[in-house]
């Protein structure tokens, strides 16, 4: 069987089945100076895939700003790192697991969490928080409920078991994700600067080990479908492409890896994630400017009869590749034994910059490292704005159609829309208090706030992205994801430090999708530059399509902010008579917003304009008011505009309190003011005693602002002349929208 596979002739059909273009194949032959064998072809197809090689995206990603005094480690390693003072650095990255979650939501989400955790702890950082950014179709569809239920369970069970609190995230429901949910997970770790570990295979002669789980035939994707047709005696049944997560082994691996790094026994550590042994070994060699030699016969297997092709391409979870110091092998083995993890020497670092694979001493592959890692083809093309954009913009309903919407009914519809509704059903399933540093967890504020132990400071974490905005205006959508994250971080008093991104798009070979991607990246770059928040890590996920078409282009941003003094956070206290203050202009922009999508079922118009200077200034104003104790609550105005923001602020106040909003005078239609999603806007609660001072301060800034209402004792939420509702009534709609839908059990499994 093994022999048959190795001898499988490399025909044009076989090349095509591996997803390689004829010109790419010619380039491989040129680089090797000969034809590749079957195994080598599989290796190239992986390393030159978008997933590993970023062939469509790399040219554009280089436009993202990635430098700054705070950056300790930019893109290129397993995760990025920023300085947070006190000798500490925060390591973080976000990653997608969309396709696996579409096939098997529980395991797909769980192994997504596992992968991103490993990216962080291979850097020597202890994971201190997770966030998850999720997108699903319409929650009234049983299959969507099935995906949602099991993705949430998968995220929770894995993180809960490993003991990393999931402290924040977002969930959006929109038809465009019906066949293709998005599961993006972000992990944040903490270390002392001197403990930072890079994934480098340095020092020729150094031994190479596989630490952790044994290797099975998991996740050998597309390429392996071909392989399995060659293996006639194995039915497709026995070829699992779904990976099963084992969080307990992950926990062992986490502890063992951190201990190993602290001991100084390791030179480099890399997670064997996507493309497993192949990418981990070749990337480590590339970073070390060395070669590497691995004998696949020594890799511990879970199943008999695996070919080199399968061992090299397997995506079995919970495995690490470790380059050790030659005199430290006993220390390494002792740590592995302490944690009951298999640890096997599989190869050695070589001086020659060749990636050499043996099977029982016989050479199976020999490829220059550079050919796999540096020579990945890059495609960059300029494409014109697609036709659909003009159509979407033209579809914007006129003022009469908007004026016909009953505003109070619209408020109820918005608050009970799953995208806006309370996400308690989700985050109650996540352990968000383990590690005892969660000051503000999910549902408490716009961003999570974590204590940094042993210091006075705290970090703020948020994820944001808006596919509808990006669909209507790719460039604005990219920028808006960044500024919304920055607003969320600012609302807990923190200053944006840096971001990670997860770029979820359809098939980049299609011009429209490619345009969306390029423009969104430009938008992100502009916003990050303006806000001084470099991109230190990220991930691209293309081909998010179902028979119904591509998803809305959805760049998601994970942001880390710093609050130097944890006591300078919003206190959350409020009493009747306190003022409600709007920082920023009155709302007017309804295009691409929630009023249209949730009430009229329309995706239409342009996304809100982005004024980066205003975003920057207003965020600074809000932070300074919080810092000085002049604002006790801060919430940004986003989905659903002022009306939804005011209701959400009210739901967070002590029971019995209400809010009475005043709408700007002289407007015949209140819709813009209530539901407009214009940028750079915040709603604050200002203690009555501080109002005079806040007025003066705001007036001095020159920024637009007004007192937009006050906190009341009557337990009602009033929307100016439009009318009012019992707070409890609205709160119930908002709190129960998702829970009620999930009580329907027909999707239970």
């Amino acid at each position: 069987m093994t022999v048959a596979m190795r001898d499988t002739p490399v025909t044009p059909d076989v090349v095509a089945a591996h997803g390689l273009r004829p010109d790419e194949y010619d380039r491989i032959v040129e680089l090797l100076g000969r034809e590749p064998n079957f195994t080598e072809l599989g290796v190239f197809s992986l390393m030159w895939s978008e997933h590993c090689g970023y062939k469509y995206s790399r040219a554009w990603l280089s436009e993202l700003p990635s430098r700054g005094p705070q950056v300790v480690q930019g893109p290129g390693e397993n995760a990025g790192a920023v300085d947070v003072g006190d000798g500490l650095a925060v390591v973080f990255k976000m990653e997608s697991h969309n396709h696996p979650s579409a096939v098997e939501p529980y395991q797909g989400a769980a192994t997504g969490v596992g992968g991103i955790l490993r990216d962080v702890f291979t850097m020597g950082a202890r994971p201190i928080a997770m966030l998850d950014s999720l997108r699903f179709g319409n929650l009234d569809d049983p299959h969507v409920r099935y995906l949602f239920r099991h993705v949430v369970r998968g995220v929770g069970d894995y993180g809960n078991c490993v003991g990393v609190p999931t402290v924040g995230g977002e969930v959006v429901f929109d038809d465009s994700y019906a066949g293709n949910p998005l599961v993006n997970a972000m992990c944040v770790g903490l270390l002392r600067h001197e403990d930072l570990m890079r994934a480098t295979a340095a020092g020729p002669g150094n031994p190479v080990y596989v630490l952790g789980a044994s290797t099975g035939r998991d996740g050998i994707h597309g390429a392996s479908k071909l392989a399995s047709t060659e293996l006639s005696e194995d039915s497709a049944e026995s070829r699992p492409t779904v990976q099963i997560g084992d969080p307990f082994t992950e926990k062992l691996l986490l502890e063992a890896t951190l201990e190993l790094i602290a001991s100084g026994a390791a030179v480099g550590v890399q997670d064997m994630g996507a493309a497993g042994l192949t990418s981990s070994s070749s990337e480590m060699a590339a970073r070390g400017r060395t070669g590497i030699e691995i004998d696949v016969a020594r890799v511990p297997r879970r199943e008999p009869g695996m070919t080199p092709y399968e061992v090299l391409l397997s995506e079995s979870q919970e495995r690490m590749l470790v380059v050790a110091r030659p005199d430290q092998e006993t220390a390494l083995m002792a740590i592995a034994e302490k944690w009951d993890l298999p640890c096997t020497r599989v190869g050695v670092v070589t001086p020659d910059q060749e990636w050499r694979i043996l099977e029982d001493g016989d050479e199976v592959c020999r490829i220059p490292v550079a050919a796999l890692v540096d020579e990945v083809p890059r495609y960059a093309r300029e494409v014109d704005a697609p036709q659909y954009l003009a159509e979407v913009h033209a579809r914007m309903p006129g003022p009469a159609a908007v004026a016909a919407i009953d505003p109070l009914a619209a408020i109820e519809t918005l608050l009970s829309a799953p995208t806006i509704a309370c996400k308690r059903w989700v985050w109650e399933q996540y352990d968000h208090t383990v590690q005892t540093h969660t000051m503000l967890g999910p549902g408490r504020a716009d961003a999570a706030l974590l204590l940094l132990p042993g210091t006075r400071s705290a970090i703020a974490l948020a994820t944001d992205g808006n596919g509808r905005y990006t669909y209507c205006d790719p460039r604005r959508g990219g920028a808006l994801a960044v500024v919304e994250a920055a607003r969320n971080v600012s609302c807990v008093g923190a200053r944006p430090l840096a971001v990670t991104d997860c770029l979820n798009f359809g098939n980049p070979e299609k011009d429209a999708v490619y345009f969306q991607f390029v423009e969104a990246v430009r938008g992100i770059a502009e916003a990050c530059r303006a806000l001084d928040a470099p991109v230190v890590s990220g991930n691209v996920s293309f081909y998010n399509e179902s028979p119904a078409g591509a998803i809305h282009p959805t760049p998601t941003i994970g942001m880390v902010g710093l609050l130097e003094d944890r006591d300078e956070r919003p206190r959350g206290e409020a009493a009747g008579g306190d003022a409600v203050v709007l920082v920023g202009a009155n709302g007017s922009h309804l295009g691409a917003g929630c009023l249209l999508s949730e009430v009229l079922g329309l995706v239409a118009g342009r996304a809100p304009d982005v004024d980066l200077e205003a975003e920057r200034r207003h965020a600074e104003i809000v932070r300074s008011l919080i810092r000085e104790g002049l604002a006790s609550v801060a919430h940004d105005i986003g989905d659903g505009g002022l009306a939804v923001a005011a209701a959400e602020v009210c739901f967070g106040l002590p029971s019995g309190l209400g809010i009475a909003l005043d709408l700007p005078a002289g407007d015949d239609s209140p819709h813009g003011a209530l539901f407009g999603e214009d940028g750079a806007r915040y709603l604050l609660v200002v203690p009555a005693v501080s109002l005079v001072e806040v007025r003066e301060r705001l007036a001095a800034t020159g920024a637009p602002w007004r007192q937009a209402g006050r906190v009341t004792d009557d337990g009602r939420i009033g929307f100016g002349a439009v009318g009012s509702r019992e707070r409890n009534e609205l709160q119930r709609l908002w709190e129960e929208a998702i829970e009620t839908r999930m009580e329907n059990l027909e999707d239970q499994r």
């Binding site: 096939v103 699992p240 779904v242 099963i244 082994t249 979870q317 499994r749």
Partner: protein, 85 residues
């Protein structure tokens, strides 16, 4: 007619079974030597009313495929006998 149904669900061959693996280690360290290939699955029992063995069988099979097992990663079998018989 009332039938008693027993459904057996297990991860497909070749799939990692973390439950089975840890259990096997545990049994070993408890001193039970010679235990091998532990796999942990589900055993679901119920009664079902209906006429015609074949019709019921078809229905149970459908129930397994739709709900009781996750056929992406699991396989199932079931047995049926007349209750009270």
């Amino acid at each position: 007619m009332t039938s008693r149904v027993e459904v057996f669900v297990q991860l497909k061959e070749g799939m990692l079974d973390p439950q089975g693996k840890t259990l096997e280690h545990a049994l070993e360290s408890l001193g039970y030597a010679g235990v091998d290939g532990v796999r942990v699955g589900k055993w679901i029992t119920f009664e079902v009313q209906g006429e015609g063995r074949e019709a019921i069988e078809r229905q149970v099979d459908e129930m397994c495929g739709r709900l009781l097992a996750n056929t992406v990663i699991e396989r199932y079998t079931f047995t049926m006998r007349e209750a009270g018989a």
